[in-house]
């Protein structure tokens, strides 16, 4: 491709190629019970460190997926709402542009990715992220033997000074694609990939899939009338759609 063509092509804003896949998730707040099973599942799958009591006190926990609580009203009419917050894999991610070394970028699957071993730890992305779902390795965390035997070999263990975040369990996506290739399929089937959180969810509140596939369950739920995006007004174009909780009385 000549430099002029390149210039013409890459001059445009937005994504110059259609996403190969466009991984997205819907979270049904009416199903979600806030049981935190997904949080532990994420911890187990992605080698999230145990930061220890003192670091937790300093608010340095590393939980790629966390559940936020919001109270309505006061006793006796107090109502508690849960909302799982994970990386929204924004298509117009504020966190990607400011990285001076390009350690975080948007890949062809519509994923907002982080290359751990390229990161130099300016932490700008975390400042720019409105959802605060980027987590920093303040230290190199250790696993007391033999706990380290549990570490998932498909996910690298991050060292101190590195930013990390939810990847939609990209290693599982990769495995699924591998399987598809082995079986001479071009595409991954709907429901073939399930991030740890989605897999563990007992109420099936989380649904994951390819938004490019109109028949995928996630694509259908995407159009649900209860659907909305958190902090939509910031125009970050998240890939995660939340389905609003239903308020009902007997």
């Amino acid at each position: 491709m000549s430099i002029v063509e390149k210039y013409k092509k890459y001059r445009k804003a937005g994504y110059f190629d259609k996403f190969d896949y466009h991984w997205g998730m819907t979270i049904d707040l009416d199903r979600c019970t806030g049981c935190e099973a997904c949080v532990v599942a994420c911890t187990a799958e992605n080698n999230l460190p145990i930061v220890g009591e003192e670091n937790y006190r300093l608010k340095r926990e590393i939980k790629w997926l966390r559940i936020e609580r919001y109270w309505d009203g006061d006793y006796p009419d107090a109502k508690l709402n849960f909302i799982p917050i994970l990386c929204q894999q924004c298509d117009q991610a504020p966190c990607e542009t400011p990285c001076p070394v390009g350690a975080t970028y948007h890949n062809q699957d519509g994923l907002n990715t982080q290359i751990y071993n390229r990161c130099i730890g300016t932490r700008t992305c975390a400042v720019y992220c409105p959802y605060e779902v980027r987590y920093f390795n303040w230290f190199t965390y250790k696993w007391d033997a033999p706990l380290e035997q549990q570490l998932n070999p498909d996910v690298s263990v991050r060292e101190k000074g590195v930013m990390e975040k939810c990847t939609f369990c990209i290693q599982r996506i990769r495995d699924a694609k591998d399987t598809a290739k082995d079986e001479d399929r071009r595409r991954v089937r709907d429901g073939e990939v399930k991030p740890a959180c989605v897999q563990s969810c007992a109420t099936e509140a989380l649904v994951f899939g390819d938004l490019n596939d109109p028949d995928a369950k996630v694509s259908k739920l995407y159009k649900d009338k209860r659907g909305y995006k958190v902090l939509e007004e910031l125009n970050t174009a998240p890939s995660v759609v939340y389905l609003k909780k239903v308020k009902a009385h007997v």
Partner: protein
């Protein structure tokens, strides 16, 4: 008194020369180390010769490295596998006797990795075998090596260049290889 810069520079001449010699020495040192003390061909616990096995006897790579086509890691043959042949073959050779000792003590053989990628790299052998690559393209002509020697550093450019020229799908996307 003189205001000439050259005159002023005179006394620094020696210092500069010392610096230059030091620099030269540095280059020599690096060169010497990498040429004569290279870790490209580490000394293995058993002096195993791919030349004999893969070369002269023409045993296919995947007979021993059985998983290369089906798994991320090619797999190193189990001691049992070695013994499968060497119960009978060439049992008198000292190297084979080493092997037999390992087998008798039920100990694994601590081979030293020659070609190795860092932990943050995802390298599935099967993808590359299925893409029709020859083992030799990364590992060199192993069948002619009495002692296996690293032929490519397996650094990022090595992978990316190949991906680029073969126009691998998403071959230049970081997450294709990093994890």
């Amino acid at each position: 008194m003189s205001i000439s810069v050259l005159d002023a520079l005179q006394p620094f001449k020696k210092a500069v020369f010392i610096g230059l010699f030091g620099l030269f020495g540095l280059v020599v040192g690096v060169w010497a180390n990498t040429t004569y003390f290279s870790d490209k061909a580490p000394v293995q616990p058993i002096n195993f010769s791919h030349q004999i096995h893969a070369g002269e006897n023409e045993i296919p790579c995947m007979y021993c490295h059985a998983h290369a086509a089906t798994s991320t890691s090619a797999g190193v043959p189990s001691v049992e596998k070695c013994m499968g042949c060497h119960k009978a073959i060439a049992t008198d050779r000292p190297e084979i006797q080493k092997l037999t000792n390992y087998w008798n003590n039920r100990e694994p053989i601590p081979w030293i990795k020659v070609h190795d990628v860092p932990d943050f790299v995802y390298f599935p052998h099967k993808r590359h075998i299925q893409a029709g690559l020859e083992c030799q393209q990364c590992h060199g002509d192993v069948q002619n090596m009495a002692v296996v020697t690293r032929v490519s550093d397996l650094k990022m450019p090595f992978c990316v260049d190949c991906h680029t020229e073969r126009e691998v799908e998403h071959g230049r996307d970081c997450w294709t290889c990093h994890k």
